[in-house]
């Protein structure tokens, strides 16, 4: 059989991408799903098929349930807060204000900093008594808080950092989208008597919807993915109050070395993310106007 030269070339050109995708995305995904039905191989005991046993363990695992609840709170706060803050900051730096180049840079800085460095800066902010926040509060007689050490406040302290980290990144997308809106549209709205809030609600926000969808998908991913600062700051503690799903997977896989159980947890994470993405694209896509 004669293979056309065109086909050969196209296959060769696709090869690098295919190799990378298969090696780092598709194979690990499939392998994870398969592993979740097997036991963890230990020493001379190879992995054996255990059916849904890992899933049964998971459902009975209180740490897993705690992680899921924490992660839901984490996502439910971070997604709207970081997006709202990003939009507000973008509207601000898109306006004609003095030194807006500097302000844009300032907002974007958290995104550029490595999460480990960020975590250490915030460790200092949150430190009891001598930390920045406590020192300020101390002047009002409200010092002595151990923000990260108290199970009631630890998750919220982590949430604040994540919002701070994400908002600047999302702002860039909103800013780019805002600059795509022709000024004449807003002038026309102004001529027609629209107040600033009416312009925002009736013109700017609808035109930002495609960007909002994109950012919301990213925000969901970040809400499940961003755990670096937990590793650096609390390791899920105290008493699993900052335990998030991905961090738990990390602990189970590389701390307790229970790879099969980690695979099972990963499958759940994957399923959650896939479900959210389906809803977002399937539902929102139909209602969004693309230029």
């Amino acid at each position: 059989m004669k293979v056309s030269r065109n086909l050969t070339y196209s296959m060769l050109l696709l090869l690098p991408a295919v190799v990378l995708l298969v090696a780092f995305t598709y194979y690990p995904t499939v392998a994870t799903i398969i592993d979740s039905f097997f036991s963890t191989p230990r020493g001379r005991r190879p992995a054996r098929f255990v059916g849904l046993a890992n899933y049964e363990t998971m459902l009975a695992d209180p740490v897993f349930r705690k992680a899921i609840v924490n992660n839901m709170i984490y996502a439910a706060v971070i997604i709207p807060c970081s997006m709202g803050l990003a939009l507000a900051m973008a509207l601000l730096v898109n306006a004609r204000i003095a030194g807006r180049g500097f302000v844009r840079l300032a907002y974007f800085t958290p995104t550029v900093l490595p999460m480990i460095a960020v975590a250490n800066i915030w460790m200092f902010f949150y430190a009891p008594d001598y930390g920045l926040i406590d020192q300020v509060l101390g002047h009002f007689g409200r010092g002595g808080n151990n923000w990260l050490g108290n199970p009631d406040t630890a998750l919220w302290a982590i949430i604040v950092i994540t919002v701070w980290k994400c908002a600047g990144f999302f702002m860039i997308f909103y800013l780019a989208a805002l600059q795509q809106i022709p000024p004449s549209l807003l002038e026309a709205a102004e001529m027609e008597g629209a107040t600033y809030w009416q312009q925002l609600r009736r013109v700017i926000l609808p035109l930002l919807m495609p960007t909002t969808l994109f950012i919301s998908v990213n925000a969901v991913i970040e809400a499940f993915r961003l755990v670096d600062h937990i590793i650096a700051m609390t390791r899920g503690g105290p008493d699993n109050s900052t335990q998030l799903l991905l961090h738990y997977i990390y602990q189970v896989a590389f701390g307790f070395w229970d790879t099969a159980y980690a695979a099972t947890l990963s499958v759940v994470l994957l399923a959650i993310l896939a479900l959210i993405a389906l809803v977002q694209f399937g539902y929102a896509d139909r209602r969004i106007f693309y230029r």
Partner: protein, 352 residues
């Protein structure tokens, strides 16, 4: 019944004076064109009137009410943007109703006014479409509809026809003109196209470098241009401007430093007259434009039909004295002939 008047309007950005003391006043229900080459400040003038830019000096009045410091929405002015500025996420009906809806007009009245305006613009079958599903001409109509439904007494249009093709442009020209008359609006219309201004407007404000060069009816602009600039800006091909000293002894009686302007269609080929050399010819069907040279200075002559001249041929040109415009060489301003200096001998010489 609204008069728009603009008094010594100035807009400066740093060092540049984009609008430099523009004054004019329209009558009620008048259609006025703001005409000028690009960069003359005509769009800026319009934006100052609309309130989209703040004037550095001067005032804008509507019906005697000073609106200079009012926000755009309170000026009782509507505007059609050059790019139409339609809201891409709204359908035609919602685009037209945008202003009424943000102003909180009741739904029943919105519908009533929509039903009144839509047939005028021929948009009845398109109300559910998005702007991206409309042709340029249809988008233009929607933009007009959005401006007209507000029933503001003054309507501003910024180069409304520049994005349309030639055929559509001619169509919309008539349509806008007839809408303006039917609705009794005062319209101010920015254009760089002299044909558009001449054919549509009751009066034309001709701007140059931020200043009003002439404010007159189209026929006055054509027959009594205030300056060399106006004479050459209006009319295609533009008016011939010649140094009087080139034309021979009969023009010696004119004051020094006089330029003589003659429109191409007023020049005739004659047996006697000013000697010229034919350079080339352009044939347009109904007429032809012959380019000649009088002592190295180009002169265009428009004649009916297709004259049979050969390049390099020597011809004689003449024109009636009343078709002749005189301008000052230094200021470029029109110089009306002083009665006792009328060119009696020249007349005999020019008209065979």
């Amino acid at each position: 019944m609204s008069r728009l008047s603009v008094r010594s309007l100035v807009k400066t950005w740093d060092e540049t004076r984009a609008v430099d003391g523009v004054s004019f006043a329209t009558e009620a229900r008048e259609f006025v064109a703001l005409l000028g080459p690009s960069g003359c400040g005509k769009s800026t003038t319009l934006r100052l009137i609309a309130g989209l830019e703040a004037a550095t000096e001067g005032s804008v009045e509507i019906d005697g009410l000073d609106v200079t410091n009012l926000p755009p929405a309170s000026r009782r002015i509507s505007m059609v943007f050059q790019s139409y500025a339609l809201f891409p996420h709204l359908n035609v009906a919602d685009n037209i109703l945008f202003g009424l809806s943000v102003r909180g007009v009741k739904r029943a009245e919105q519908k009533q006014r929509l039903d009144r305006i839509v047939p005028l613009l021929g948009l009845s079958s398109l109300l559910d479409r998005r702007p991206s599903q409309l042709s340029g001409g249809q988008q233009q109509r929607v933009a007009l509809g959005r401006a007209l439904i507000a029933e503001a007494p003054v309507c501003l249009l910024d180069e409304p026809l520049s994005n349309l093709d030639a055929k559509l442009r001619a169509e919309m020209r008539n349509e806008i003109r007839s809408l303006q008359q039917r609705l009794g609006l005062t319209m101010l219309f920015v254009t760089h196209d002299q044909t558009e201004a001449m054919s549509m407007a009751d009066r034309v404000v001709l701007l140059r470098d931020g200043k009003v060069e002439q404010f007159a009816t189209p026929s006055d602009l054509y027959t009594k241009p205030n300056s060399v600039f106006v004479a050459q800006f209006i009319g295609t091909p533009p008016m011939n401007i010649l140094d009087a000293t080139l034309l021979g002894p009969a023009w010696d009686r004119l004051p020094k430093n006089t330029l003589v302007g003659v429109r191409p269609e007023h020049i005739r080929f004659a047996d006697r007259g000013i000697a010229a050399t034919v350079v080339s010819m352009e044939y347009f069907g109904a007429d032809s434009v012959v380019s000649c040279r009088i002592a190295d200075k180009p002169v265009l002559v428009r004649v009916p039909g297709q004259p049979g001249f050969a390049g390099g041929e020597t011809v004689h040109l003449s024109w009636p004295q009343e078709a002749q415009h005189l301008f000052d060489q230094h200021s470029g301003k029109r110089r009306d002939p002083i009665p006792d200096q009328r060119l009696a001998p020249a007349l005999e010489f020019v008209q065979p």
